[in-house]
Structure formats: structure tokens, C-alpha cells
């Protein structure tokens, strides 16, 4: 640490540049992780809100809720601690100048997926809904009458709930009857027992008994099979992993150049009997200091930026993730430094002190 720190102190500009690069890389990593997290929330909030373990869908639905179609009597709760019926339909809601893509959930008021109302009242009769509060930010209000695309039915917002977006669309919660009216219009009577799935709470999904034409999947699988979800999160994860590699390589190059510059100094120290191990430890310590400084500054910048971003940017910082990513960045930086260690070990003190010798 003695050598490492004194070198940094006496070559401030050089090391400031390295810290600068690390700051930018960690800033990008943190920001992308916030974005990945935010985008994930955008998709899965409503599912997480169920606090459920699995969902029953039809075999042919390919694990997507809207494509699954069952009847209420298809399942009786065998093997589950608790279950709730769920109907779902995407549509576009308009109130005055406000327009939004929404996901309408048809539920039973007395079942566990019924959301807590944060403002206003619960829905009562047909045509009343509780809305996700992001709609409030877009200008929708309690009492708004919503015109829907592809139907003459209208819905009225009676209250708001929080954290309720499904596959990027804010959710409107209403009764099954409300859903069927919107979805099937005139033919409601024949279709009133049609739903999209059964949401299940259980300790063991294996024990849930269903016919062969149905399947029980974990809620996590439902989330991952949402259109675009995996693609988005994989793309962002890929970028983050790539940044790890980039920062390792950048650090490796910087430190390698610095090491090459110091070959004669290291050589002289080795001639005096200072071990390669001590010099290697010094380089590692130096890398550690630089990486930690870069990561901390990057973190501060990220938080500052986050505070000034408009709400439309789906950034949500998960501090546990960030801690892990920061630690990984420090770790890969040190891996980059290892590249220089072998150079140090190989330095021949004889050459470094300029002894006039031939080499075998």
C-alpha cells in the first residue's frame, strides 16, 4: 500500500484519468442496472403484487396469459393453499385528452389478488374499476369515464392502487362481469365463466392437480414469457456483462502500460532484494484503490442523475444489485491487474540495472 499510495499521490493526473474511466464505466453499469430493473418492474409489478407462487394456464397458451382461455369450473383448488380466478384483456382507454394502453384484470373482490386501494374506493358494480396510479400521473382522475377501443362499454375509475403494471400496461381492476362486458360485448351471457387463468398460492406447485390440457407454471415463468421481457432484460444484462469485460481490459491496458514504464524501477527494487510478491501486492492494492474510487464516484453520479430524471424514464435502482455489480467491477479490475503481475515476475533485475551481460 505504501508504494501504491505514494505513486498515486505523485502522479495525480495519470491516476485521475484511470479513475475517470472507471467512474464512467461504473456509472454506465449502475445506470443500465437501474434501467434493467425499471423495465422489469414495468412488466412484472402486477404479477409480483399477487404475492402468488404459480398460475394455471392452458397447455396451448404458450405460457402467455392473454392467450390462455379456461372456464371457472376447470379447477377446484386441488393441491393449492389458496387460488384466485383471473381474466385479462388489453385495450386502450381514453378520457378526454388522455389516452393509455391498459390491461384490464377481471377478478373476484373477495380473493387474494384484489389490490389495496391507496386512494378513492373499491369498485362496486359492473363498469367500475380501480386503476394503477401511474395513470394518475398521466392525468386520469377518480370519476373519469373511460372510452374503450373496440367496444361501446365505458368504465369509471373509482380508486387508485400502486405498483400495478402488467407487461408495461397500467392495470385496471374490475369485476369479472366488467371484464366480460368489455371483452365479449353482447354475447356476455354465454361467455361469463371464461377466464384466462387461476392464480395459486401453494408451497409446492407439483401438488396442484389439473387436467392434461392445462399447465401449472411458476409466476416467474409467466413473467419471463411476457412478450419482450426476456429480450429486454437479456439485452441489458448482456451490456452490463460486456462492460465488466471492457473495464477489465481497460484496466489491464492502463496498468500494463504503467508497469512497462516502471520496469527499470521494479528491476532495481528486485536487484535490491525486494520480492516480486511485494511489488505485485502493491499493484493489486493500487488497482483496488482506483477501482473502489471509480465505483464510488460512479455510484454517486448515478444516484444524482436518478434524482433529476423525468418520471417517464423507467429507472429503478436496486441497491443490492448495485452493490453486487460494484463488487464485480472491483473484482474484474483486479483481474485486469493480474495481467501485469506476470510482467513484474518476469522482470530480470540484471537487465534493469543495465548490467553488461549477454543473454542465453
Amino acid at each position: 500500500m505504501f508504494l501504491a499510495w505514494n505513486e498515486i499521490k505523485n502522479n495525480k493526473l495519470r491516476f485521475l484519468l484511470i479513475v475517470g474511466v472507471l467512474t464512467l464505466v461504473s456509472y454506465l453499469v449502475f445506470f443500465l442496472s437501474g434501467l434493467a430493473n425499471g423495465l422489469e418492474n414495468l412488466n412484472k409489478e402486477a404479477v409480483i403484487k399477487w404475492d402468488a407462487d404459480g398460475i394455471i394456464l392452458t397447455e396451448e397458451s404458450d405460457l402467455t396469459l392473454p392467450q390462455s382461455s379456461l372456464k371457472i369450473e376447470d379447477y377446484n383448488g386441488a393441491g393449492a393453499d389458496e387460488y384466485a380466478v383471473l381474466g385479462q384483456f388489453y385495450t386502450i382507454a381514453t378520457a378526454g385528452d388522455n389516452k393509455a394502453n391498459i390491461s384490464l384484470f377481471g377478478i373476484r373482490e373477495d380473493e387474494f389478488i384484489m389490490p389495496k386501494v391507496t386512494e378513492g374506493k373499491v369498485f362496486k358494480g359492473s363498469g367500475e374499476v380501480i386503476a394503477d396510479d401511474t395513470l394518475k400521473n398521466e392525468g386520469f382522475e377518480i370519476g373519469d369515464e373511460l372510452q374503450l377501443s373496440a367496444t361501446d362499454e365505458t368504465l369509471t375509475i373509482t380508486g387508485f392502487t400502486d405498483n400495478a403494471r402488467f407487461n408495461a400496461a397500467p392495470v385496471l381492476y374490475g369485476s369479472l362481469e366488467t371484464l366480460q362486458k368489455v371483452r365479449f360485448g353482447e354475447s356476455t351471457e354465454n361467455m361469463k365463466d371464461r377466464i384466462n387463468g387461476f392464480v395459486i398460492r401453494t408451497d409446492n406447485l407439483e401438488e396442484v392437480e389439473v387436467d392434461d390440457s392445462f399447465q401449472v407454471i411458476a409466476t416467474q415463468d409467466l413473467i419471463e414469457n411476457m412478450p419482450g421481457y426476456s429480450e429486454q432484460s437479456m439485452t441489458l444484462s448482456f451490456m452490463i456483462y460486456f462492460l465488466f469485460i471492457i473495464s477489465a481490459v481497460i484496466l489491464a491496458i492502463f496498468l500494463y502500460v504503467l508497469t512497462i514504464q516502471k520496469i527499470s524501477i521494479f528491476g532495481v527494487m528486485k536487484a535490491q532484494g525486494i520480492s516480486s510478491g511485494y511489488l505485485a501486492k502493491s499493484v493489486i492494492a493500487q488497482t483496488f484503490l482506483l477501482a473502489v474510487a471509480g465505483v464510488i464516484i460512479g455510484f454517486i453520479f448515478t444516484i444524482l442523475t436518478g434524482a433529476f430524471l423525468p418520471a417517464a424514464v423507467p429507472v429503478a435502482f436496486n441497491y443490492v444489485d448495485m452493490l453486487v455489480y460494484g463488487a464485480v467491477l472491483v473484482l474484474v479490475s483486479i483481474l485486469g491487474a493480474l495481467f501485469s503481475i506476470q510482467t513484474i515476475v518476469k522482470i530480470d533485475p540484471l537487465k534493469a540495472i543495465g548490467a553488461n551481460v549477454w543473454h542465453c
Binding site: 505504501f2 508504494l3 505514494n6 505523485n10 527494487m269 520480492s275 533485475p349 540495472i353 553488461n356
Partner: protein, 228 residues
């Protein structure tokens, strides 16, 4: 007792098809309290001799003893530790670390080795080398002569039993050169060290107990002072 002993040592380098004997078979021993000069033109094998004696490279044949320990076949890691404990190098090229000031140069040695000079001895050393006012200076702020004196301080600071100096007076004027030799002489006799100075500065031989000459890899004793 011989602090440094080379028994039938030679060094052969392979250069393409031909073999070059940089150091012909030589036996050499240096006793405690001796200051020895080795003179010879460049390319004569002085550096080869010095680096073998200092454990920086192994001889092709023969054995090297430092303070009674055979270091001939030791691995580099072991040799490095013996260099640190037993040998003080004063190298021709400045052996200072550019980003450490003078007192930090010495402090670095405290990090890697115990039993260095105590504060009082260090003060005396700096006083006699005339570097006491330079302790906060960085190598780039020092003149060649000052750097050389700091290098000597560094070599003496670990209290080695053997001092190997390669042209220690090369960048010094006569007065300073004689002062440095006085210093080395004093360190050698009062603390029972042995000092080998490789040089082509014949002014220095007056300080030495023995003078060897090396030509074409052949080491010969040419002068032995009466005092020994």
C-alpha cells in the same frame, strides 16, 4: 572470516554458435573490514563479476558463498531475500524510485526488511553523506551527485554485510568522490563489512586494501596494501 567467497567460478554465455567466457575461472574472497577495488575497461567482465558476487545471476560453474551460505543453486526468490539481508547495492544507474522522496526511499526498505539502522544511526548516515536537508526532496529535484549519495544511503541503510558498488563516484567531483570513498571506508572498517567497488577511476585505489584488475574476463590481484 570471508564474507564473500567465490570458488572456481566462471560464466559462459552462448552467443549464436560461439561461446563467450565473460568471466574466466576465478577464485576470490573478501574478508570483513576489507575495501576492494576492481578496475578494468568496459566489457572486461566487471559487471558479470559483480552480479555473480551479488547473487543477481548464477555462475556457469563454481560456487558462491555469502556470509558462509552457499547461494549458487538457490532459486531467485531465495537469492532475492539474501540480497535484501546481506547486500547493499550502489548501482551506476540511479536506483531511486522516482515517486518517493528521500526519506520514503528509506522507509520502503523498512516495509520489506527488519533491523535496519535506527533513527540515530540514520541521522549520522545522512549527516555524513550531506543529505540531511534533502529528506523531503524527490529524485527529480536532486543533482547527479546528490542522487548518488542517496543511493549510497539506501545501500547502507539496511546494514548489509557486503556492499557492492558499481562506479559509485561516476557522477561526482573529486572532493565529493573522496568523501564518498571515506564514507565507504569508514562503514567498512568500523562495522566489519566488506565493500567491493567496481570502477575505472584510479584515484580511488588509495582507499582500498586490495586492487584487482580484470581484463577479458580474467581477474588478477595487482596490489595489496601493507595495512592488511
Amino acid at each position: 572470516m570471508a564474507l564473500l567467497e567465490l570458488k572456481n567460478v566462471n560464466k559462459v554465455f552462448q552467443s549464436g554458435q560461439t561461446e563467450i567466457e565473460a568471466l574466466k575461472t576465478t577464485s576470490f574472497s573478501a574478508e570483513s573490514g576489507q575495501l576492494i577495488a576492481i578496475i578494468g575497461p568496459s566489457g572486461s567482465g566487471k559487471s558479470t563479476f559483480l552480479t555473480i558476487a551479488g547473487g543477481l545471476q548464477a555462475p556457469s560453474n563454481g560456487e558462491v558463498f555469502i556470509n558462509g551460505n552457499d547461494i549458487t543453486r538457490l532459486k531467485e526468490k531465495k537469492r532475492a531475500s539474501i540480497r535484501l539481508q546481506e547486500i547493499g547495492f550502489v548501482l551506476q544507474s540511479s536506483n531511486l524510485v522516482p515517486f518517493l522522496n528521500v526519506s520514503q526511499q528509506l522507509k520502503l526498505l523498512d516495509k520489506v526488511k527488519k533491523n535496519n539502522l535506527n533513527d540515530k544511526q540514520l541521522e549520522e548516515l545522512c549527516e555524513s553523506l550531506g543529505i540531511r536537508d534533502l529528506l523531503k526532496s524527490f529524485p527529480s529535484d536532486l543533482s547527479g551527485g546528490e542522487r548518488q549519495r542517496v543511493a549510497i544511503a539506501k545501500a547502507l541503510y539496511t546494514d548489509p554485510s557486503i556492499i557492492l558498488a558499481d562506479e559509485p563516484t561516476a557522477s561526482l567531483d573529486s572532493d565529493r568522490a573522496f568523501e564518498v570513498m571515506d564514507m565507504l571506508k569508514k562503514a567498512t572498517t568500523t562495522n566489519g563489512k566488506t565493500t567491493i567497488v567496481v570502477t575505472h577511476d584510479t584515484r580511488l585505489v588509495d582507499y582500498c586494501d586490495q586492487v584487482y584488475k580484470i581484463t577479458d574476463g580474467q581477474l588478477r590481484l595487482i596490489e595489496e596494501m601493507a595495512s592488511v
